[in-house]
């Protein structure tokens, strides 16, 4: 199959499904990491659910979409740093971020963290699912990075008045 035939399998509306493409041998089609991450996350959570005693079963979240949303929320920074030049020197000033910027930073951090800091033989979807589950539980490198940013902002709080917007 060509390098990225996967995009042809997706029709223009999510409710449609091309019958023609289902006739191809799945061996030759490239994998869809977005579907695989959600599937692995759900499998891990369901395994955890079945292994846990009855008291803790209600707390375990199995819906991969809610896990993803909550993990993304936990990764979003609240205050960012902007470089402001004043009197010849540039300072890192704590600054409120827009919603779009926060979402973008959270997603970018997740992706770069998965690309760089994981074992090279695991697939991207596995790495993503591990990171998302860790972020859901407020652990992991991405949440640590968010906390580091907040700590830097806290350390530079004296420069907050250098902003003019």
């Amino acid at each position: 199959m060509a390098a990225s035939v996967r995009h042809l399998l997706k029709p223009w509306t999510p409710s449609l499904c091309f019958a023609r493409w289902s006739r191809y041998n799945p061996y030759y089609l490239d994998p869809d990491p977005s579907k695989d991450t959600l599937e692995t996350m759900k499998r891990k959570q369901v395994e955890k659910y079945h292994r846990s005693p009855a008291a803790k079963r209600l707390e375990i979240e199995c819906n991969p979409y809610t896990i993803f949303q909550q993990a993304l929320e936990n990764c979003k920074p609240i205050i960012g740093l902007a470089s402001v030049q004043k009197g010849g020197k540039s300072y890192q000033v704590p600054v409120p971020l827009t919603d779009n910027r926060r979402r973008f930073l959270a997603m970018k951090w997740l992706i770069t963290e998965c690309r760089d800091n994981k074992h090279r033989r695991t697939h991207m979807y596995e790495k993503l699912s591990q990171e998302l589950l860790a972020a859901f539980a407020n652990e992991g490198n991405v949440v640590k990075r968010k906390h580091d940013l907040h700590k830097m902002a806290e350390a530079n709080r004296a420069y907050a008045h250098y902003r003019w917007w």
Partner: protein, 115 residues
């Protein structure tokens, strides 16, 4: 119309018939179809008090967002209000913004030569 009166005066200033010309222009004496952009007025930092409260709360509780959720929501509301205010304030002082004036002039320019 007053337009031709001005043109005659300008022609007199430029002509050599009455001694040396008073004006020696390098660019054509006509208005451009463009307006110069306004200098941005420097404001002050918005939401500094809410931010400082949030940072103090974080320092006390080891950057735990669930504990400081109230400060976080207050900060967000302040930021939204500041953004709305900044958006409103820009174009409603009675005058046209330089950007808007330029788009209008591009669509309806002053014709300086016959087409």
């Amino acid at each position: 119309m007053s337009g031709s009166v001005i043109q005659e005066k300008v022609a007199k200033l430029l002509s050599r018939q009455n001694g040396k010309p008073v004006l020696r222009p390098i660019k054509p004496l006509a208005l451009k179809n463009e307006v110069a952009s306004r200098k941005l007025k420097k404001g002050e930092a918005t939401c500094v008090t809410e931010m400082s409260l949030l940072l103090a709360c974080w320092k006390q509780n080891n950057f735990n967002n669930s504990v400081c959720s109230k400060e976080v929501s207050v900060f967000y509301t302040c930021v939204e209000k500041a953004q709305n205010k900044a958006k409103e304030k820009q174009g409603t002082q009675g005058r046209l913004l330089p950007k808007e004036a330029n788009t209008l002039l591009k669509r309806f320019p002053n014709l300086s030569s016959e087409i």
